[in-house]
């Protein structure tokens, strides 16, 4: 056993050496011992983690095969507390966060919340309807640019531009949805990937409209309006949400509305139809699900949520450029959905925080922080393939199926 593990370690080290050469450069004149040390540290951390995981799993398999992991026990403990307390506690925590945090932390918090609402939107397309979308960030870009252009050219306020952005996002969702109605799996992934890049390249090259790679700037922030009776008649005082805490509360409200919306969709007739399409499209058609409309609706609604997040993003920064909407962003949003547990709303919220906040924690590792990020993702997928907080449906599928099969076998009369 030990010899086997050692042989594996040697193989890993061999590949590590190959990988490290291009990372450090072939010419060793500028060799920096510190950089090499950091790379080695990250890699050895991964290897050590790997062994810890293995030892942990072996111990668990032999001695306490039936016992639940601490994550599950913690989950059960939380479930015992009445729902209203946990949700109320979380909302209270979210509300008081800006009072105790500094500006940097609030900024990271805002980014987390933006990605959570993106994750929730993508969850409709990927998690519920089962359509793999690798160009989701394009709809985020549509929302951001719609607000920017409407505000800069027509002077429309954030609230007036928001519905227009949502409608445009939904139209874009249908534009990508319609030609891909007959596609599944890999082909769909390729087309959506292409669509995401097309949107970015159009934004990058349409100089006269989007100012190309320079981006657009000078958009007004979202505003609140208060009635004012001082000068005889009724006037409105405009209060622009410029400070970070104010923007934080705005995105928090957007996220809460998104959660409510997605939850209601999830439990509705339409949600049921989405799941049916994901499970078996032919059977869904035969049950009378109008698959064309229901699939387009998934794209359109997913895009609408992304568009809202995009408009907020542009308004918050008061700046936008095409490089905010790289393929990498689509990947991160997809990672949030997968890591959290496909189809699970609490999972996506937790994963959003982990995936956005953790790379911030690793900033000390500089260029290697994405490496650490990758290591965490890989470990997660090995340990909990169904995600952090799996939707009950999915947990049963991955872990519970053996037990059910056994039951089915025991009581089967045939």
């Amino acid at each position: 056993m030990v010899r086997q593990e050692l042989r594996k370690l040697a193989t890993y080290l061999f590949f590590l050496a190959i990988l490290i050469i291009p990372m450090l450069g072939f010419r060793s004149t500028s060799f920096e011992s510190q950089r090499a040390f950091k790379t080695l540290a990250v890699f050895s951390a991964i290897l050590v983690l790997n062994f810890v995981v293995k030892a942990f799993r072996r111990g668990r398999n032999t001695v306490r095969a039936k016992e639940k992991s601490w994550v599950e026990r913690a989950g059960e403990r939380i479930n015992q507390v009445p729902r209203i307390y946990t949700i109320g506690g979380l909302i209270l925590l979210a509300l008081t966060f800006p009072l105790i945090a500094n500006n940097y932390m609030i900024d990271v918090g805002i980014t987390c919340l933006i990605y959570i609402s993106l994750g929730l939107g993508l969850n409709i397309v990927v998690g519920l309807c089962g359509l793999l979308d690798l160009g989701y960030i394009a709809f985020y870009a549509v929302g951001a640019y719609t607000y920017s252009l409407l505000n800069l050219s027509l002077g429309l306020s954030f609230w007036a531009a928001l519905p227009i952005g949502i409608i445009l996002g939904m139209i874009c969702g249908c534009i990508i949805g319609y030609p891909t109605l007959k596609m599944r799996g890999d082909y769909l992934a390729i087309v959506t990937l292409g669509f995401g890049e097309i949107v970015r390249l159009v934004l990058n090259n349409w100089d006269s409209l989007t100012a190309g790679p320079n981006g657009l700037f000078g958009m007004k922030r979202p505003a609140l309006y208060f009635p004012d009776f001082t000068e005889g008649g009724l006037t409105w005082t405009t209060y622009y949400l410029k400070s970070l805490p104010a923007l934080y509360y705005l995105i928090l409200i957007i996220v809460i509305f998104t959660i409510i919306g997605v939850r209601r969709l999830d439990n509705s007739r339409i949600g049921r139809a989405w799941i049916a399409i994901r499970e078996d499209e032919t059977a869904a058609e035969l049950s009378g699900v109008p698959t064309i409309w229901i699939k387009l609706l998934a794209y359109a609604l997913g895009a609408a949520f992304a568009s809202v997040a995009g408009a907020f993003f542009a308004a918050k920064l008061s700046y936008t450029n095409p490089n905010f909407f790289l393929f990498m962003e689509s990947c991160i949003v997809l990672c949030i959905v997968v890591l959290g547990g496909v189809g699970s709303i609490p999972g996506i919220i937790v994963a959003g925080f982990i995936l956005i906040a953790v790379p911030e924690v690793f900033r000390g590792l500089e260029n290697y922080r994405m490496l650490a990020f990758g290591a965490i993702m890989t470990t997660m997928m090995v340990l909990k393939p169904e995600g952090l907080i799996p939707a009950s449906r999915r947990r049963r599928e991955i872990h519970g199926s053996d037990r059910h099969k056994q039951e089915a076998f025991d009581t089967s009369e045939h």
Binding site: A276, E279, D280, A284, S287, G288, H404, A408, H414
Partner: protein
């Protein structure tokens, strides 16, 4: 029982890209009957059913359901007219519970009381399903999945039920059970069009039978006559 036909196919041609799968199918099914379509693998039996329900639309020809042409309709519109299909290979929703699967069958209906009534009826036909309401469809045994597929298609309260190979991969004893239930469903007033490789079983409960070979119907007769037919006996009954 033979009254006016509930379903009429006239010269139906269906293609899968370049493959000419159905080469001019014509048949009619009288209301209230059980009719069956038998034939070898790849003869186009499943395609016939998928063409009727609109999943694999025909290029040419006419399909009339209760006298109304339906060949141009989308699958959900055909389902709305009262045609339900239990697809081949137990295509249930694996990650939905038994109850959710059955509820999906009633997707187009809004009359909750009647749905509950039909649910009880399905549980009466397949008592095993009642014991499995909370279990995921994918974890049911083969026979249970087949029952669930039939039960789901019944939940739309169809006037015509299309069954694709209900005996596929099941133990002989279970096949008998399924066919008894099919007979029972028919007695409650549902016309049934059955596609089967198990020709003996299918013919023994049907009123009429159609024999299919490479995209064409080569023989149509009373089921009892087909059971006696030398050609059929040799090719499909293994005698």
């Amino acid at each position: 029982m033979s009254t006016k036909p509930i379903l009429e196919l006239t010269d139906i041609h269906t293609y899968y890209d370049n493959i000419h799968a159905l080469k001019g199918i014509s048949l009619s099914i009288p209301e209230g009957d059980i009719a069956c379509l038998i034939g070898a693998n790849g003869a186009g039996k499943s395609t016939t059913l998928l063409t009727i329900s609109g999943v694999q639309p025909s290029e040419k020809g006419e399909i009339r359901f209760k006298g109304e042409p339906i060949q141009q309709l989308r699958p959900e519109q055909v389902a709305e007219k009262g045609v339900a299909q239990a697809p081949e290979g137990r295509q249930i929703f694996p990650r939905m519970s038994t109850l959710e699967n059955l509820e999906m069958g009633a997707f187009l209906r809004k009359d909750k009381a009647a749905i509950a009534e039909d649910l009880e009826w399905v549980f009466g036909l397949f008592p095993v399903l009642k014991e499995r309401t909370g279990q995921l469809g994918g974890t049911l045994s083969g026979g249970e999945q087949q029952m669930l597929a039939i039960g789901r298609s019944l939940m739309s309260r169809p006037s015509l039920l299309l069954l694709d190979e209900p005996s596929l991969g099941l133990a002989p004893k279970l096949v008998e059970r399924i066919f008894e239930t099919i007979f029972e469903i028919n007695k409650s007033g549902t016309t049934i069009f059955l596609v089967e490789q198990n020709a003996h079983m299918a013919l023994s409960i049907s009123a009429t039978g159609h024999v299919m070979e490479t995209g064409r119907i080569v023989l149509t007769d009373k089921a009892s006559a087909l059971l006696e037919n030398d050609q059929v006996r040799k090719a499909y009954l293994g005698e």
